[in-house]
């Protein structure tokens, strides 16, 4: 009887084992089927093809923006094609040829891109600009931070932190701002904030691409402006470069930097007193809302001409002013 029970128990055990391993295999296959498809599965429930054009580079802001855009595409079941070309012009043409349903882009060269944007608009393909606008174009909506407000807020911060006359320099990323009006908008914002007295922006330069070139640009700005006490950078690379240049060439703490990003060097600069504050834009929300507005446009819903996304300024010792 005992032997009989043992055999029955073993049969039950092995049957369970077979079932467990059988289902394990099934789960492995099912789980794999839900991940990045190895097989061809081109069908999409929405059937909407949206193209997103961003400049190349590893800027954290764009990384967050891509995350937001992908999330929105997933939420609204859109097919999102992301391209990060050096020349966006050709891709505007490609977008038109491939009959995309909508386009979102960061404008790097207004003059070059406006005709393409206009042509897409003429062909009823809605175009949204993200963070960098082309106001002269027939784009549908701008989604991003308010450049003027950023400049103004930065100028106000300079006024708060800097006693005496302000001698400020603006270093703009050539990759992002050389041919875009956004740099100018920020410039006007700063100027509006610091106007009065003998305060003035003494230098407004475009930095070269790459950290060494950017550092060299910062060094040159410092050398040619002896009374300089504030440097405002419009990209994370420029901010890092300015911190490093300041450490090397102007160890005296008479110049404050205002910049972008939260890189380790920038955080150290804040702790050491070289960086007065950094502007943090919300890339995720920008990307998400950009695609969301595009979706609204495709659904024939109301779309505003601009959707400003909040930004914040991180200060040494505290998160926000």
């Amino acid at each position: 009887m005992v032997r009989h029970r043992i055999i029955n128990a073993l049969i039950l055990l092995f049957s369970l084992g077979v079932a467990v391993f059988f289902f394990r295999a099934l789960f492995i296959m099912l789980a794999l089927g839900k991940t990045e498809p190895m097989t061809v599965s081109p069908e999409s429930p929405g059937g909407v093809h949206v193209m997103l054009l961003l400049p190349p580079g590893e800027d954290p802001f764009f990384r967050d923006l891509l995350k937001g855009a992908r999330k929105a595409a997933s939420d609204y079941q859109l097919g999102l094609e992301i391209q990060r070309p050096h020349s966006m012009e050709d891709y505007l043409a490609v977008a038109r040829i491939s009959q995309v349903d909508g386009l979102a882009l960061y404008v790097t060269d207004e003059q070059a891109l406006v005709p393409g944007i206009d042509r897409l608009s003429v062909e009823n393909i809605p175009v949204i600009t993200l963070e960098s606008d082309a106001p002269a174009s027939r784009r549908l909506c701008y989604v991003g931070s308010n450049g003027f407000r950023i400049g103004q807020r930065a100028g106000e911060l300079i006024m708060e932190r800097q006693s005496g006359e302000i001698r400020a320099a603006l270093i703009r990323s050539s990759r992002l701002f050389e041919k875009a009006s956004r740099g100018e908008i920020i410039y006007y914002g700063i100027q509006a904030a610091i106007s009065g007295g003998d305060n003035r922006i003494v230098d407004n330069v475009l930095s070269e691409t790459g950290i060494l070139s950017a550092e060299e640009t910062a060094r040159r700005v410092m050398l040619r402006n002896p009374g300089l006490n504030v440097i405002f950078c419009t990209s994370m690379i420029d901010t890092i470069a300015a911190v490093q240049a300041l450490r090397k060439y102007r160890p005296r703490r008479d110049i404050r930097i205002l910049g972008y990003g939260s890189h380790r060097i920038i955080r150290e600069g804040m702790e050491e007193g070289q960086v007065a504050g950094t502007i943090r834009r919300d890339g995720f929300t920008t990307g998400y809302e950009g695609i969301q507005i595009l979706f609204d446009a495709l659904e024939d819903r109301y779309v505003p001409s601009a959707r400003y996304i909040d930004f914040r300024i991180d200060l040494p010792g505290r998160g926000r002013p």
């Binding site: 055999i7 049969i11 492995i28 097989t39 929405g46």
Partner: protein, 500 residues
């Protein structure tokens, strides 16, 4: 309980085995097919793009040749190449949520555009519009570059993804292989266990039956029943075996009981024969004495008459009593006898003793009235009293010789005590008297008279019990012979006979 036949059980076992093997194999096949599909699917896009690219290259080279030559043959070749390219481009272009498939979709639109542009070049070249076809050709090259750019991006993306996917697929493949191995191993073990269980299930009742048969063969019919199986044949066998066991047991019990009865009857018969033998002996003795009694009766009667004639009244009375005693004793051998008859004989005997010895011997008889009606073998009490007189009071000079016969109830038996105040009975004599029956020794040809031994044997035979007589010592130190009579005086043998 559902009972299955052996045939259906074997069929079920094979079916289960086949099913497990089938499922295991199907499972292995399914995983292998799935993996093959995965690996094939991994490179399907590359294969599509590769086919498309080769045709695109062919169109491009054919276009160059046509632009250079402008010949009709080259145009036909170009046309064929364009048709080949068109074949690689699907008409249905669903939108994917995957970046690489979206880019592939874009490539198809670019190819559409490229084909139109090539046709534009062909048309311009045919019209010899050199400026037009040069410009259009430049545009086709740009579109071609764009297509290549897209294709390279897809391939580059795929290369990164495929590397990861390949590693992942290889890991999964190993995992699944191990999983399959475990599943197959477990399935094999499961099969072995199922077969073992089946064999065990089949063999266990047979083995049990074999053991029980051996037990029964040894004569043990009290072995427990074989439990019924859920297998029909085994169940039938078990039921049959159990019934057979019970039937055998009943038969054997009956035979034993019959043998017991027969043996009992045989014993009874032997006892009867012994009794008959004793009676015959007694009868022979009586017959032998019949001659003497007749002679004695005649002589005694003559003596009585003579004594009367001579006026010897006392002598006449004595002889008369003696004659009556003899007559009583002889009569008691011929007809049914009861204890009161025996008491009557004892009275005659005591009167004779009184005549002979005066008041030397005092014989008292106290019997409850119910005891008097008990059937009782003849010549029991008188020999016992005689034994006391002859041996118990031998050489006694005093005149206080008392023999008491007393009846009483003890449990289910009557006890008849014959006690005296004489010398008692010695151990040797007692053992000799109470020894078991020995027909060879107890019935000599020549009778020595009816003594204690004879009384013991006859009592035992009459009442069919070994404890019919016991000998002890009386309260006064004399002999005490205790006769044990079943209540009602019915001998045990007859009681059994009545019961039967």
């Amino acid at each position: 309980m559902i009972r299955r036949t052996l045939k259906s059980r074997i069929a079920l076992l094979f079916f289960v085995i086949l099913l497990i093997l089938l499922v295991s194999n199907l499972y292995s096949l399914a995983t292998a097919l799935w993996l093959r599909r995965q690996f094939e699917g991994m490179y399907s896009q590359e294969m599509r793009l590769g086919r498309m690219d080769s045709r695109l290259e062919r169109v491009r080279s054919d276009l160059k040749v046509f632009v250079l030559t402008g010949g009709a043959e080259e145009r036909d070749i170009l046309q064929a190449a364009l048709e080949g390219l068109e074949d690689t481009v699907p008409v249905k272009r669903p939108v994917s949520r995957n970046q690489r498939f979206l880019m592939e979709r874009t490539i198809y639109y670019l190819i559409d555009r490229y084909i139109l542009q090539v046709e534009g070049v062909v048309e311009a070249r045919s019209r010899r519009d050199y400026v037009g076809y040069s410009e259009t050709y430049r545009v086709t090259e740009k579109t071609f570059g764009m297509i290549e750019d897209y294709r390279e991006k897809i391939l580059l993306d795929n290369l990164e993804i495929r590397s990861d996917q390949y590693l992942e697929a290889a890991r999964i493949y190993r995992d699944l292989q191990l999983n399959n191995l475990i599943v197959l191993g477990l399935a094999v073990l499961l099969l072995i266990l199922l077969i073992l269980r089946f064999i065990h299930h089949l063999a266990e009742p047979v083995e049990l039956m074999s053991r029980r048969v051996r037990e029964i063969g040894r004569g043990n019919f009290d072995v427990p029943d074989i439990p019924e199986s859920n297998q029909l044949e085994i169940s039938v066998m078990a039921r049959g075996f159990n019934e057979m066991k019970r039937s055998l047991k009943n038969s054997i019990t009956e035979i034993r009981e019959k043998a017991e009865v027969e043996r009992s009857l045989a014993d009874q018969k032997i006892r009867n024969m012994e009794m008959e033998h004793l009676l015959k002996n007694a009868e022979m003795a009586s017959l032998r004495s019949h001659m003497n009694p007749h002679f004695l009766f005649n002589s005694l009667n003559t003596g009585v008459q003579l004594a009367t004639m001579e006026d010897a009244d006392r002598t006449a009375e004595y002889m008369d009593k003696l004659a009556r005693l003899f007559r009583h004793n002889v009569k008691s051998l011929d007809q049914s006898h009861h204890l009161r008859d025996e008491a009557e004989g004892l009275d005659l005997y005591s009167e004779l003793l009184r005549e002979r010895f005066g008041d030397k011997y005092t014989i008292t008889v106290q019997l409850p009235p119910a005891l008097g009606a008990c059937p009782f073998p003849p010549m029991i009490l008188q020999p016992l009293v005689e034994n006391s007189v002859l041996h118990g009071f031998a050489d006694r000079e005093d005149r206080d010789c008392r023999v008491a016969v007393r009846g009483e109830i003890s449990g289910l038996d009557w006890l008849l005590r014959v006690e005296d105040n004489g010398w008692g009975i010695g151990r040797e004599a007692r053992e000799k008297a109470l020894a078991p029956l020995n027909p060879a020794g107890d019935f000599p040809r020549r009778s020595r008279g009816i003594g204690l031994r004879n009384v013991v044997l006859r009592m035992r035979l009459f009442y069919d019990r070994e404890d019919a007589v016991s000998i002890g010592t009386s309260l006064e130190g004399g002999a005490a012979v205790i006769l044990r009579i079943p209540q009602g005086g019915i001998p045990q043998g007859e009681q059994n006979g009545q019961r039967d």
